[in-house]
Amino acid sequence: MIRPIFGQLSAVVAMTWLVSPAFAQDTQAIRKEIEALKQTYETRISELESRLKDVEEKKKAHSAETPAPASSGRSVFGNSFNPSIGVVLNGKASSFSRGTSEIAGFGVGEEGERGKEGLAIDESELNFSANVDDKFYGSLTAAIVREGGEDKIELEEAYIQTLPGTGLPTGSRIKAGRAFWTLGYLNEHHAHADDFADRPLPYRVYLNKAFNDDGIQLSYVLPTGFYSEIGGGAFRGDDFPAGGSVSGLGAWSAFARIGGDIGNSQSWRVGGYVLGSDANGRISNEDMVTFIGQSRLYAADLRYTWAPTGNPKQSEVILQGEYFHRDDDGTYEDADAGTGPVAFDDDSSGWYIQGVYKFAPIWRVGARYARMSTPGTPAGLVGSALDSGGHDPDTISVMGDWTNSEFGRIRLQYNREELSSGADDNQLLLQYIMSIGAHGAHAY
């Protein structure tokens, strides 16, 4: 800064010198003037120099807010089009009072089982998303999980979605690929956004944690003054509660939901959903139990949020509940118990309700109760994994979490599960969920 100014000054001084010699009688006066100018500028320059020193010291202190030098690195303009990248890191320490955990009366998939005891990382999620062009949006989420002693990549989501520029009627959109489809409240959300360290019972039993089959879904926000949306989809039929798709088109869904506000600080949403599936082999219980037949899952959800001061960042109450009803018509076989295929036509249900209270910007507490109503046991399945022994599994959970910033959360949770008759399991879970990279937006 100082050097160029000084250079300019001397040039100006020299110019003044050159243009004025004609009037000799003024030389003396001019010299004096220049002397005075020099004096002024020297004082000014030393002043500037000391200011520069100050600024440089401040710069050291607040390096984050000062512009980086232009030549700080290679500029790769191709990177400007990189998608938003987000990583979610997730780890748990769990302690269980029982060695085993079986949910009586149901065929339960791998993801629906109790987690690992001791120290373990949960799903580490990688997300890439961006607009493809003016008409499409694309997103990919891969989870790296440890299964059977190996790190595997599970493709959770890989979908494209139409943007409003596509020319479809306002409010409608089509999503295709693999996604956490619209079904109940939690299914659409990634596990890292959950309020508890594990999914509630009906999700573990009916959806093997979440339904993310390959497929396509159309949804339409109706032109009503309040929020109302309808939609439906068609899916491959490979993911729980379907499975073993033969035709490549083995499941369908439909949904409707409405929502709105009450005053300035309360919001709500309720929905009804149905998922029909043609299971050519819904495999569960470590490949031992197979269901073949028609399965229909009905769901209803409610979510209500209330910010007592109007500002949810400060404090908030969230109430959420979901009810599921499943109708299975086909055959069940438990290879472990050697039952052979047994005709089965019955229904079952499950629900949970939970409340979370954020009492300070960084502190929240919550409680959850979940219960399953088991179907009847046909004679051929007595003594198998599908024999509930007349017991309805239930769990009660309480949790407290600490949120340092929008991106980091640590949670302690206690569960008391009685999933089979007399099999009390006291669980303590300590979990961290941290996200780095893109500032992801979360839906209601």
């Binding site: 929020y227 709105g260 300035n264 500002n311």
Partner: protein
């Protein structure tokens, strides 16, 4: 035949219900200050709705159902931008916004794109807190910014609603004239506030501080978006004992504990400045916002508190 005509009647009725004959231009404003400005520029030709209210931190709301519905019906979107609404606006835009409201369209108006943004960080690292790579988004509190924003809004309204272009232009001219007059008065008063040392809760006041030549000594949050810690507050206690601080500022949505604590220890007044206008504020509210803000600062600046 009768059945057919009743069907037509029903369809017509439905259409009338969906779009009243003399439809006003619906403006979806993310914050109440932009809804208020939209009412000044648009007058009775527009209907401005604010997604957030004065008690809410606009950075921390959800893409709730009612907003999806409002977005679906909107003709123009008017927000702060610079990442302030990044946690919820993208979802609303993808879910239900008309094509005309998508980024790059005249119906997509982000204030931060039309004013000079302060505090653009060169190093973006979350260990520094929730900083926005785009710079500080709280642009409305520099009253000089209101003028170019009003003019840009008028230009965009003219594109969205050509028949009323003349009306918007006239209303904007009148508003800018009134505003410039007010601005001169505020700036004259601000001369006495120059260098006023302040502690603020969050960096929500950067533009006000910049405009009025105030001096921000420290923030209660150790890092943007990180709640005040006892250690950091003790640090501030030391600072406020060694150098003069005239007031501790917060918005109506910042928690009061930290500023209350520091105020009780030092005697420095903790004041809640309005920060924005009420959700459904009538015209004139924006002027009142700045009047009140300056009056509160003047009062705090004159007072000689016990701690000094």
């Amino acid at each position: 035949m009768a059945r057919k005509s009743s069907l037509i009647a029903m369809v017509l009725l439905g259409m009338a219900f969906a779009s009243p004959a003399f439809a006003k231009i619906r403006i979806f404003a993310c914050e109440p200050e932009w809804a208020a400005l939209a009412r000044e520029v648009g007058g009775n030709r527009v209907e401005a709705f604010s997604a957030t209210h004065k008690q809410q931190d606009p950075h921390h709301i959800r893409a709730k159902p009612s907003l999806i519905a409002s977005m679906r019906h909107a003709d123009l979107l008017f927000c702060s931008g610079a990442g302030l609404e990044v946690g919820w606006l993208p979802i609303l835009l993808r879910q239900a916004a008309p094509a005309d409201l998508q980024p790059g369209q005249p119906g997509h108006f982000m204030a931060a794109d039309y004013v000079s943004v302060l505090e653009k960080p060169a190093i973006v690292d979350r260990s520094l807190g929730d900083i926005h790579p785009e710079g500080n988004p709280h642009v409305h509190l520099d009253a000089r910014n209101i003028v170019p924003l009003a003019q840009e809004l008028s230009r965009r309204l003219a594109i969205v609603d050509p028949p009323n272009a003349q009306v918007y232009a006239e209303q904007t001219d009148a508003f800018v004239r009134r505003w410039s007059h007010k601005l001169a008065g505020w700036e004259a008063r601000a001369a006495k506030l120059e260098g006023m040392p302040l502690i603020v809760h969050h960096k929500s006041w950067a533009y006000l501080v910049h405009w009025l030549g105030l001096k921000q000594v420290a923030t209660l949050e150790p890092r943007p978006g990180i709640q005040p810690t006892p250690g950091h507050l003790n640090e501030l206690l030391k600072i406020s004992r060694t150098q003069p601080v005239k007031a501790i500022l917060r918005t109506p949505y910042d928690p009061s504990e930290a500023s209350g604590w520091l105020s009780s220890k030092t005697g420095i007044p903790a004041i809640t400045l309005p920060y924005t206008v009420e959700k459904g504020a009538a015209t004139g509210a924006l002027q009142a916002l700045f009047e009140e803000t300056i009056a509160l600062l003047e009062k705090a600046n004159k007072a000689d508190h016990a701690g000094q």
